[in-house]
Symmetry: C2
Subunit: 96 residues, 2 copies
Amino acid sequence: MLLTELKATQLAELFSALSDASRVRIISLLIQGEMSVSALAEGLKMSESAVSHQLRGLRQMHIVRARKDGRQVFYSLEDEHVQKLYSMGLDHVEHG
Amino acid sequence: MLLTELKATQLAELFSALSDASRVRIISLLIQGEMSVSALAEGLKMSESAVSHQLRGLRQMHIVRARKDGRQVFYSLEDEHVQKLYSMGLDHVEHG
DNA sequence: ATAATATATGAACGCTTGCTCATATATTCA
DNA sequence: TGAATATATGAGCAAGCGTTCATATATTAT
């Protein structure tokens, strides 16, 4: 069926969330559970600023959610959709 | 589990295939069956050159395959993986 | 209040991307 | 052979992206 330009754009935006290695790695960590910005930065060996910028984008796409606790902010996946896309993609990359 | 940088990059490349509205629309047409470059260009109201450039990228990612017949080249999806990602993404975009 | 810590934000910069335009290659037809 | 058609390709350009660096904001501790 023919896609409207709007839906094509929305689909492209959704997949854009996973179209960068840094974001993929952020999501791979968040799949295991919520994590603070600095924990993500340390785990990924990225600057906290770079991580924060990426998280902002993911937040705006409603892919992650932020929970503030004291001066830390813990991020987690907003729903299971992206995780499903992630596993399906990983499966494709690993086997076949 | 922690992703290697290599796999994160491969995953990002895979999702990049669907991270642009033009490519999403190309794939939405190819899901219905193989199509020539000019038919794609007409259906999508894109220049044949733009379509051809995108098809080259998709070919290099092994997402589409080319079959030459006379002076036309018919493109089709190389396997069902991308189609599965596409439907899952579309599902997410359409019903929440 | 002041300092220290955690995160967010804006500007700037280099890199990539997707297009157009011109041109090249391949195939068919007259 | 020469013209017409279908696709591919390369250069160039504008827009977008991901980072760094400097700075701002919010929270906690002294």
